[in-house]
Amino acid sequence: MTPHILTRSLDRAATAFVLIVAAIGVLIPLSNLLLPQGSMFQVPTYLVALWGKYVCYAILALSIDLIWGYCGILSLGHGAFFALGGYAMGMYLMRQIGSRGVYGNPILPDFMVFLNWSKLPWYWYGFDKFWFAALMVLLVPGLLAFCFGWLAFRSRVTGVYLSIITQAMTYALLLAFFRNDFGFGGNNGLTDFKDILGFNVQAEGTRAALFLLSCLALIIAFLISRAIVASKLGKVLIAVRDAESRTRFLGYRVESYKLFVFTLSACMAGVAGALYVPQVGIINPSEFAPANSIEAVIWVAVGGRGTLVGAALGAVVVNYAKTFFTSGPLAPYWLFMLGALFILVTLLLPKGIVGTFNSWWEKARHSSPDADSAAREDGIGAPNAAE
């Protein structure tokens, strides 16, 4: 009667999403590699990298939706976890350059030689090994989120106050990473990457593989989020979102739930950042900019807060629009458009694209007797007014 945690999480919409992402993940690289250049169906390499970037943003959006849409934690500093994951990957890529750098130092990255550093700082140890870097991609954002969340949730910092301190967190990291003596390349960040696991990062094959991996990561992140949302834990999270103190009086340790989901979400954001860096070829402190985190929240609002598919879709749609408009004559007006989009979505589509579609769909088939139970299967309830 009550199926296993994994099967329960896969309803029709979720299965469709997974299949579509998988198809894109396979077809785009295949078309890029196998079809002759100039063919109508051949996806050019620059587009593979661009779409890979969107997929990474979609993972970031999922991680934000998991805490905001389902648990009511509005983090305006999630870009920090994304950037930390990115830096961990960037450090690995820097050390892979070896003696091929401008200064030819086999151990020290160029910027350290330039700063006259004589040896590698301790926190760069281990990053020459991929497994270590991969572990740090999860561990660094996760640990920061755990410590931050432990302090914030235990002191019952909620709502707009929590949002403000998450902004302060990412801003503090922005300032720290800008400093040359912090040891992460200052305002130039980390770049000029050569290879990843022995493959040239610029090569078409590597880009195609990274794209496929990003899609795979999106699927895994989606399935994890979906399993959580569909479990009883998901119901507790929604309860916390809608009536936190009521949940506490039922005997749930609200702080533990928040801490769990916040830490998990930070790890997901870290993975997104780690996949993003080799595809764009650079990571610098601007990724910590508070505006980036706010933009990511807008993607989720546009796509549909509290709907996982919506968050991923919102990230792709808004970023596609960004690419489209910033490459044309309308470029100087993009930020105005983004602002207008946010206002319009808040006024006209408070549930976002997917949320609005869902309620329309429910209404359309309301005559059918099991409409209510179908709504429940989605595990989606409209979030109450922002708390």
Partner: protein, 253 residues
């Protein structure tokens, strides 16, 4: 840690000499009250008498400045937080019905069940027959069986109040604190609620705070009247309502 060697009292809930003040305002002033196991007690009193503050103290939301608050004769409630107190078996229904509006009636009860409340327990939770039977039974008691798959937000005001009482039942607490259960209800709903509470009282100790005298009369239990944070009168509804000081307080001097 919080358990004393012997029971200090036979009472299920025991308050003695409790004081609370907020910025110099004495919300609770030398309040003493005892609820015996299996008892149902109605608490009345004008606005600002300290009824809700008293519930806040019992459930750990407010810490008293002085005084003793004992549960089951052994547990000092003033040292515990809300979650711990809820786990011990004190359930609370709020004045304003707070159900989880975006979830179904059934899920609201599922969340309230007194089973494993840990993160891991809920993540790997798989329903059991015993659990669904308990939910069915509660649904029947609160007369919401037909509405089980409806979103709680779509219920009428009276039904939300019952759902909240149902959530209390699902928690299966030893003591139920019920704050203004019939506020805003129709006469029929009020009558049904009194029936419901009497039915629940067969297995549970209950404390009801209520303004509606018809309802309190219908419950037919011992009444405590609070005024300015302490007990003004105690006894049957007839005794209390004929008490001169109670009349004075309610009508104003």
């Amino acid at each position: 840690m919080n358990v004393m060697d012997t029971r200090a009292t036979s009472a299920m809930l025991y308050l003695d000499g409790v004081h609370v003040s907020f910025d110099g305002f004495h919300a609770i002033n030398n309040l003493s009250l005892a609820l015996e196991p299996g008892e149902m007690r109605a608490i009345i009193g004008p606005n600002g008498a300290g009824k809700t503050t008293m519930m806040d103290i019992i459930t750990g939301k407010t810490k008293p400045d002085e005084g003793t608050v004992l549960f089951d004769g052994t547990v000092d409630l003033t040292r515990l937080d809300e979650t711990r107190i809820a786990e011990l078996g004190i359930g609370r229904k709020f004045q304003k019905p707070t159900v989880f509006e975006s979830q179904t009636v059934q899920d609201n009860l599922l969340l309230a069940l007194n089973v494993d409340h840990s993160v891991r327990g809920t993540l790997f939770w798989r329903g059991s027959k015993a659990e669904s039977e308990r939910i069915d039974k509660v649904l029947e008691t609160i007369r919401l069986t037909d509405a089980r798959n409806r979103l709680a937000g779509s219920l009428s005001h009276g039904q939300k109040q019952w759902l909240e009482i149902g959530m209390l039942l699902a928690q299966d607490p030893k003591v139920l604190l019920v704050d203004e259960p019939v506020a805003g209800m129709t006469d029929v709903e009020t009558h049904l609620t009194a029936e419901l509470l009497k039915e629940i009282n067969r297995n549970h100790t209950i404390m009801v705070v209520e303004h509606d005298m018809t309802f309190v009369r219908e419950l037919g239990v011992k009444v405590t009247c609070l005024h300015e944070g302490s007990v003004l009168a105690e006894g049957s509804i007839d005794q209390v309502s004929s008490n001169e000081r109670v009349v004075e307080v309610y009508l104003g001097r």
